[in-house]
Each structure stands twice: as C-alpha cells, then as structure tokens.
C-alpha cells in the first residue's frame, strides 16, 4: 500500500513537472535575433549614408545662408529674410502660383437606362485617390475648384457634401488644376490611370488636357501647427 501510494504520487509529480515544463516553454518568448543577411545590411548602410549626405547638404546650405546674413548690411539682411519668407510661403502654398500643368475636367456620364439616374457626386475617397495618384506621378501643386490642396488640406464628407479645406465643393462639373514639371508625362499617366476606372464606376468622366498657363489660388486660412510634435520614435516597417 505504501509503495503503491508512492508510485501514484510520483506519477502525478511527473505529470505536474511535464505541465510546468510545457508552460515554461510556451510562455518564454524567443529572443529576437538580427536575421538580416549581408545584402540587407549593405542596403541599410547605403540608406543611412544617403541620409547622412542629405543632412550634410542641408547643413552646408544653412551655413551659406548664415554667412550671407553675416556678410551683408542690415537692409540686405532684411531683403534676404523677406526672400526666405516668400520662398517658404511658396513652399507651404500660401501664395498664388502659375505655371505649366494639366487641367482635369470631371463631368457626369449619362447612361441610357430604363430607371432614372441620380446626378453623380464626387466622394472624398475618389478625390483622395486621385490626389495620391497625381502626387505619385509628379504633380507639384494641386487646386480643386479654386481650393488649393496643401499638405494639411482636409477632404471630408459632411452632410452629403464633399468638403475641401472646410468649404463645400460645388456640384459637377469640376475642374482640377495641377502643376507639374513635366505636364505631358503627367497627362499620359492620367490617361491610363486606375482613377479613370474608379471614377467611371461612379458615373464620372475624367478628361485632362495640358495647359501652358494655369493660375492656382493660394491657400486661404490659417495653418495651425500648434499640436504638431516631432515624432522621435523609430519608423517601423519596410524601407
């Protein structure tokens, strides 16, 4: 009896030990290893070097501006300052700008149907997609119906209307003005782009033409960057 009890306890002990070992192994996370091969490390190094070069270039530019300031008289300093401000405003989209580009017309398509057709509307998703594509293909400045699109332009759907820069877009037809360094190329891209298909699904027709003289209005409103913070965390994901 005593031996049998012992054996029973021993077997239960062994079983418990097995469970503990399994639990221990399951909860322990494997240590992360650097599994990049030579090629990946090399390309990463190249990316970092490029970044370094860019930074050096920026430093050189800033230093030359600083030298300019120091070398000049007060009046000239003010002129340079004004120039800088103008340049920055231009970059931010706070000035009217004109140049070569393409003009995109968005018109409704009417289809022969037995049922009545709704008047088509443009949705923010479509606009976003189009703008992304334009930026991809080398657009420098974009304006949708006299609303300049800048980095922080919101495109939203409010109460059945599409708002750009917190102002409602008028109903169709719409015009989108796009400045580009190479308008012909941009036009070619737009001619074959996916956006045309997506617009067609919503009964919208996309036509584009090159224009040598386009005038884009400036961004009206304040750029509020009070809540902006530098993100110091490392970017994750693929390069």
């Amino acid at each position: 009896m005593q031996l049998r009890n012992k054996i029973i306890i021993s077997l239960v002990c062994a079983f418990t030990g097995l469970m503990i070992a399994i639990q221990f192994q399951s909860t322990q996370e494997p240590t992360e290893r650097d599994t990049r091969d030579l090629w990946e490390i090399r390309s990463q190094l190249q990316v970092e070097q490029k970044k370094q070069q860019q930074l050096y270039q920026q430093i050189a530019e800033m230093e030359s501006i600083k030298d300019q300031y120091e070398a000049m008289s007060e009046q000239e300093q003010i002129d340079t300052l004004v120039d800088s401000i103008e340049e920055l405003e231009q970059k931010a989209g706070l000035t009217d700008i004109s140049g070569k580009g393409i003009l995109i017309h968005i018109n409704p398509i009417y289809v022969e149907m037995d049922t009545e057709q709704e008047y088509p509307e443009i949705s923010p998703e479509l606009l976003n997609r189009l703008i992304n594509e334009l930026n991809n293909y080398g657009a420098t400045e974009i304006a949708i119906e006299n609303e300049r699109v800048i980095n922080i332009t919101p495109i939203r759907y409010v109460n059945g209307k599409t708002y750009v820069n917190n102002r409602a877009l008028p109903s169709l037809p719409l015009q989108i003005k796009v400045l580009a360094a190479n308008p012909e190329r941009l036009l070619d891209h737009i001619e074959v782009s996916q956006s045309r298909d997506y617009f067609a699904i919503e009964n919208l027709d996309l036509t584009a033409e090159v224009s040598d003289e386009l005038l884009l209005p400036k961004y009206e409103g304040n750029i509020n960057l009070d809540n902006l913070e530098v993100n110091e965390s490392q970017e994750t994901g693929e390069e």
Binding site: I7, L11, V12, F15, G17, I20, I22, S26
Partner: protein, 121 residues
C-alpha cells in the same frame, strides 16, 4: 519521499527536452491546470503527513480539479468574465493553507524527535 521528487525532475526534463509548446491562447488553461496540480499535490502531501492519504481521493482530485479549472477558464472566456480568477483564488488560498499545515506538522515532528533525544539522554 525521494521518489516523487525524482519523478518531478524527470517530468521537468522530459518536458524541456521534448520542446513541446502550446499556442498562446491556450496557455491560460495550462497555467490554471498547473496551479490545480500543485494544489492537489500539496493536499496529498498534507494528507500523507496526517495519515489520511487515500489514493482514490488523490487521483480523482487531481484530474477533477484540473478539468474543473480548465472548464472554469473556458467558461470565463466564453462569457467574457475572468472566471479563471476564481480558480486562481481558490487554489491559491488552499495552497497556502496546505503549505502552512505541512510546515506545522514538520515542525511538530522535529520537536518530538528532539524531545525524544533529550529524554534518552
């Protein structure tokens, strides 16, 4: 008393050597099962020291407690209540109680031996 300890070590090494792991979502169940097993083991040791050990109670208690704990955890997951906490609480309290009683019994036995030695002298 050495056999159980030896088997515990054997079980541990067996588990570590076989490299078995269970999926993350089931680790909850296993942890509670381990707790239940501990509870039963210490209960068994205590009963043994009390001289009330019954192998049927021990074996059925072992498996019943483990399955009940896993069932509670499962129910808790289904109902969205952390029901496994109840099992953790119950087993934890019992574990402490049993260990305390075991300690007392051991101390008593130790004192008895001491007294016997003294009386012999």
């Amino acid at each position: 008393m050495w056999l159980p300890a030896l088997f515990l070590v054997v079980g541990l090494t067996l588990g570590l050597l076989t490299n078995i792991t269970i999926p993350d979502q089931y680790s909850n169940y296993l942890s509670i099962a381990v707790l239940a097993a501990f509870d039963t083991l210490f209960g068994g040791i205590r009963a043994h020291l009390d001289g009330k050990f019954d192998d049927k109670v021990f074996i059925t208690g072992f498996f019943f407690n483990i399955s009940l704990a896993a069932l509670l955890a499962f129910l808790g997951v289904q109902l969205g209540i952390d029901l496994y906490l109840a099992a953790v609480f119950a087993f934890g309290v019992r574990l402490f109680q049993n260990i305390a009683i075991i300690r007392r019994i051991l101390i008593e036995k130790f004192n008895q031996k001491k007294n016997e030695k003294k009386s012999r002298k």
